[in-house]
């Protein structure tokens, strides 16, 4: 009988003690770094995106904290739509705090230097506002000057737009003001709102003399308070609260502004976090795909090492060490790059947010980048790299030897950790598990869909392969199926970038289409409001004199609610289980009366109830959404306080209102025969196509009816356009991260498949292909890749855009084929350019040189 030795005594060393694996890692890597280019580039791009966006988030938060007091200008602000008088004024004075006042309203301004006019926000200031921060003007004494009489300051953008300088004059209402200077910085000012309604500042003492404050004018009053401590602010607020509630005034504290701003910027944080998340995940895909290619290329070498005695772990460790060290280096470079990019982002955000973001280094973001990069390089390389452990040594004899599909613990652990990683990262980024899970699910859905579309496109190419087409076309299409070509990964990564940019474009187009009705014939593009009854006839005459069609003159009555469903407002306010919103109970409503629906309305519930006889009940309709805020439905009663007169009404129906269409639109519409005698103002609309007529009409209107304001919807359209230009620049800049990552993956895949391509091209050359033919094949192959990626992204963006516009923005879905075509072409051109740039060597190298190199 033969005796065998069953067990071998073998020494195993840990990665740290096994000198050989470190030596081999270095030897193998020193001439091999280009093979790991894709890995490093993917990691660097992903980490740079995360660090840049994270540090911008940090900077935003720090600046909000730092600037909150300066942004509000005081410790406490009370807001109201009525002048603070009587009981309210007494309550203010009882606080014994230093106070300042402000009133702002919409008004027309006429620039006397060029006779042009436009709608502005008129701000009247009183006292020593601001208590924190400063009003910066040019010249520096402008603010002091307006306190001395009929002087005004203009927002910088307004002054430059209408070429107004100091000592020019403007007319506001009945008064001509001399321009004292321009405002470059003011607490609470700046930001995107300035773009919509630039401000003109005057002294509060001059407001009444303008004659603008009349019945129906919407004036917002603010009272600023300065306290010595937070405690004093809280005490003062507690003291004021009953009065504020009684008169429906609201208030704001520094803490409240901080939280408000924080909430306002939460969507920006989330958007940035989402972009960072997408870029990082793309980076991870790049890392995993590059290591997968790398591990495949190393199969033969691993088999040789296994033959000469290396264990599976030793072989694994060689490449793991390389990836790990390069991962740390890549994370460091990515983090530094991210910090560099962060310095650029505030430039893009300038003019969008109401304060400047500081430039600085966020150490926590830098650390995040380093840790994250290292984790990613380990986590996403283990799964593809673990296959190295199971390369059969028999591969040295038979290259086609396949490893048995080993289910190792390492592999299972890697899969679990990889699945957890996006959720954990998104949760940390958004500081919410739910949002984190939604990010993950959203991304998984998008990636699955992109992969699905990519697979369908690839299947379609195979299924309907143009067998009868020319050699070049056929060969370029067939190249998409080349082993290691990473076609699917490329379609997904570049497609995701195309998706983000196209979706943004669709949302932009949808929003623009909301205001673009002004461009359609017969639609009003100019609205005149605050017309007093005595002015109604005159305004109509003026319009007719300018040959402008008077569409309709809509009456507006201001009122408040005094009872809802039989309960008084103060009773409802005290009721803790009452679901009614306090602001809905106390706000001022502007209502109208008519017996029909307009083009922008649709009755969704109930009916229009005409008032038949004088004693019939009053039935009103309410706009959809508001009935929820007031917790009322058809048949419920309301009591309106119309300038001191109580009027009971019942809800007869609910209207769905398309607010931007055919303004003005209303929450409450009364039937005719009820409010005709109530104090009212009028609004009218017309269409002006000629700019010269528009200027002439505006000028005459301001001169004859100074309190009547005019909204030029074309101006709003151009403002929305410029707003999108600004926002779009930021979003496109950030979306570029995912495009860049996609292109890095493309460049890497091209480099990694270079050797396969070289062999193919050498073969093609040997059988007689010319350089021009090989170049064409290469370029067309990338054009296919770009085209399919663009198609993949755009198909998804149609769905994504529709979902966003329908459910999030609640606007009509619209898109511009031409712009989408431009985006698609851009993606194709960029893909072809990157592909060609990296393939130059493959195309131009003589066959013999390549053969020698290959050997």
């Amino acid at each position: 009988m033969i005796e065998y030795i069953i067990k071998l005594k073998r020494n195993t060393k840990s990665i740290f003690k096994d000198r050989w694996v470190w030596v081999m890692a270095w030897r193998d890597a020193r001439h091999n770094f280009s093979r790991l280019f894709l890995f490093a580039a993917s990691l660097i791009t992903g980490i740079a995106a995360v660090v840049a966006l994270d540090s911008v988030n940090h900077a935003l938060k720090d600046d909000i904290d730092r600037n909150a007091k300066e942004l509000i200008g005081a410790d406490l602000v009370v807001n109201g739509s009525k002048k603070f008088e009587g009981e309210t004024r007494a309550a203010f004075d009882s606080t014994r705090l230093q106070q300042a006042g402000e009133a702002d309203m919409a008004s027309m301004v006429l620039f006397l230097n060029n006779n042009e006019s436009r709608l502005i926000r008129l701000v009247a200031l009183e006292g020593e506002f601001p208590f924190y921060g400063t009003i910066e003007t040019q010249p520096a004494d402008a603010y002091q000057k307006i306190k001395t009489g009929r002087f005004a300051m203009l927002d910088e953008s307004l002054a430059s737009q209408y070429e107004v300088s100091s000592d020019d004059s403007i007319r506001v209402g009945d008064v001509v003001f001399k321009v004292a200077g321009v405002v470059t910085k003011i607490p609470g000012g700046g930001g995107i709102m300035t773009t919509f309604t630039p401000s003109v500042y005057i002294s509060m003492s001059e407001l009444d003399s303008t004659g603008l404050v009349q019945y129906g004018s919407r004036v917002n009053y603010k009272q600023y308070f300065k306290t010595t401590s937070e405690k004093q602010a809280t005490e003062a607020l507690e003291k004021l609260k009953p009065t504020l509630k009684k008169f429906g005034h609201s208030f704001e504290t520094v803490q409240g502004r901080k939280e408000g701003l924080g909430e306002g910027f939460l969507s920006i944080y989330r958007f940035f976090s989402l972009l960072a998340f997408v870029a990082l995940i793309l980076g991870c895909i790049g890392v995993a795909s590059s290591v997968h290619i790398y591990a495949r290329e190393k199969r033969e070498e691993v088999a040789v090492l296994r033959c000469v005695g290396s264990s599976g772990w030793q072989a694994f460790n060689i490449y793991f060490i390389q990836i790990f060290i390069l991962g740390i280096i890549g994370s460091f470079i990515g983090s530094i790059l991210g910090i560099g990019i962060q310095q650029v982002i505030p430039f893009f955000l300038k003019g969008i947010i109401p304060f400047e973001i500081g430039f600085g280094i966020s150490w926590s973001s830098l650390l995040l980048g380093l840790i994250l990069g290292t984790i990613i390089s380990v986590l996403f390389s283990i799964l593809p790299l673990v296959s190295v452990r199971f390369v059969p040594p028999l591969t040295v004899l038979r290259a086609e030897s396949e490893a048995t599909n080993v289910i190792s613990k390492t592999r299972i652990a890697a899969i679990i950790l990889i699945a957890l990683f996006p959720i954990v990262f998104a949760t940390i980024q958004t500081r919410s598990l739910v949002t984190g899970v939604f990010f993950f699910l959203g991304l998984a859905a998008a990636l699955s869909f992109l992969t699905g579309v990519a697979l369908i496109l690839l299947y379609a190419v195979r299924r309907f392969f143009p067998s009868g087409a020319g050699f070049i076309l056929r060969h370029s299409l067939a190249s998409l199926y080349r082993p290691n070509n990473q076609t699917r990964v490329l379609l997904v990564t570049i497609g995701l970038g195309a998706f983000i940019i196209s979706t943004l474009n669709i949302v932009e187009q949808s929003m623009l289409s909301q205001v673009e009705f002004t461009g359609q014939e017969n639609q009003s593009n100019t609205i005149l409001f605050d017309i007093q009854p005595s002015q109604k006839e005159g305004v109509v005459k003026l319009m007719e004199a300018n040959k402008l069609e008077v569409k309709q003159v809509v009456p507006i009555i201001t009122c408040r609610l005094s009872e809802v469903k039989g309960k008084a407002i103060n009773q409802l306010q005290r009721d803790t289980i009452n679901k009614t919103e306090n602001w809905a109970l106390t706000r001022e409503y502007r209502v109208t009366y008519r017996d029909s629906l307009t083009h922008s309305e649709e009755l969704t519930k109930g009916e229009l109830h005409h008032r038949k006889v004088g004693k019939d009940s009053v039935w009103v309709t309410i706009s959809e959404g508001m009935e929820e805020n007031l917790d009322v439905t058809v048949g419920d009663s309301l009591v309106f306080d119309i300038q001191g007169v109580a009027l009971k009404a019942f809800i007869s129906g609910i209207r769905k209102v398309d607010w931007p269409k055919d303004p003005p639109n209303f929450i409450f519409v009364f039937p005719t025969g009820v409010l005709e005698e109530a104090p009212q103002i009028f609004v009218t609309a017309t269409r002006i196509d000629d700019k010269q007529i528009a200027n002439q009409f505006q000028q005459q209107l301001v001169m004859q009816f100074p309190n009547v304001s005019l909204i030029d919807l074309r101006l709003i359209l151009s403002t929305v356009n410029s707003l999108f230009d600004k926002l779009g620049l930021v979003i496109r800049f950030l979306a570029m991260f995912s495009i860049i990552t996609g292109l890095v993956v493309l460049a890497g895949a091209v480099i990694n498949s270079k050797f396969v391509r070289i062999k193919e091209n050498v073969l093609l050359r040997t059988i007689g292909a010319r350089t021009a033919q090989i170049t064409k094949i290469t370029l067309i192959e990338y054009a296919w890749l770009g085209l399919f990626s663009a198609l993949t992204g755009m198909i998804l963006s149609m769905g994504g855009g529709w979902l966003l516009t329908t459910f999030f923005f609640k606007i009509t879905f619209a898109f511009d084929w031409l712009e989408l075509l431009i985006i698609g072409t851009g993606v194709v051109v960029l893909t072809v350019a990157i592909g060609w740039f990296n393939s130059r060597e493959v195309i131009s190298t003589p066959p013999l040189q390549v053969l020698r190199k290959e050997n």
Binding site: I2, E3, Y4, I5, I6, L8, R10, N11, K13, R19, W20, V23, M24, R27, D28, A29, R30, H31, N32, E300, E301, A303, V304, L305, R306, C307, V308, G309, S310, S311, G312, W313, Q314, P392, P393, L394, V396, L397, R398, K853, N855
Partner: protein
């Protein structure tokens, strides 16, 4: 008779696919004693390379046993077999199988370094000099000709003083002159180090240089010839 370095008993290798199975090796038995030289010959597809792979522990048989240096390879893990190869086995392949990212010298040093040995460079240099590559030590495989690459592979195979050397068509990719040179080196070093040699070849002239020849056909050992080697 000296002790058997390699013993194969009833070796069978069956490859299974979805609906059929292919027997590439069918109950093959033989043994090789220390210092012997053996050629495995036969037409393509006769199972020569499979047999070599099994004997060297590069693959596992479907049935039967292989003992190398008394160790039963079937019972060992993949890593144990790798360790075993490092301790006792040398390889020379038809397509050289050098590590492309390592210089000639580093390629030769790898097996000893794997053992954890230090200061292995002098021995590696000595072997490279022995194969006539003293001036090409720092060259990478891509900078060497086929013959030179095979000589590096020989130096790598012999650096561990292996008990047994497996060679798969060692001259298959070489021209006549280089093939002659490699053959001389292979047998010369084999004699010097008293290494057992197992050779797979199509080349009858080369096979005749070994003491024994096994002829394979259709996965079966059909003939075994004991003869005086023609050197």
């Amino acid at each position: 008779m000296s002790q058997a370095v390699l013993r194969a008993d009833n070796l069978t290798k069956i490859y299974k696919s979805a609906d059929k199975q292919l027997t590439v090796l069918d109950h093959v038995s033989f043994s090789v004693a220390q210092g012997d030289s053996l050629s495995i010959i036969g037409p393509s597809g006769s199972g020569k390379t499979t047999l070599l792979g099994l004997c060297a522990g590069l693959d596992t048989p479907s049935s039967g046993t292989i003992a190398l240096m008394g160790f039963k390879l079937n019972a060992m893990s993949e890593d144990d077999r790798a360790y075993m190869r490092n301790q006792y086995v040398g390889f020379v392949f038809q397509n050289f199988q050098l590590l492309g990212t390592l210089t000639a010298l580093e390629n030769v040093m790898v097996p000893l370094e794997l053992r954890g040995e230090r200061n292995v460079m002098p021995k590696a240099k000595e072997l490279l000099e022995r194969v006539g590559l003293a001036d090409r030590m720092d060259h990478y495989p891509s900078q060497l000709s086929g013959g030179e690459q095979q000589r590096v592979a020989m130096a790598r195979a012999f650096i561990t003083d292996p008990k047994i050397l497996f060679a798969d068509e060692p001259t298959g990719n070489l021209d006549e002159e280089n093939a002659q040179h490699i053959t001389e080196l292979l047998f010369g070093m084999n004699r010097e180090q008293h290494t057992t040699l197992v050779l797979v070849t199509h080349n009858l002239e080369l096979a005749q240089k070994t003491q024994r020849i096994i002829r394979m056909k259709g996965g079966k050992l059909v003939e075994e010839i004991h003869r005086e080697p023609v050197l």
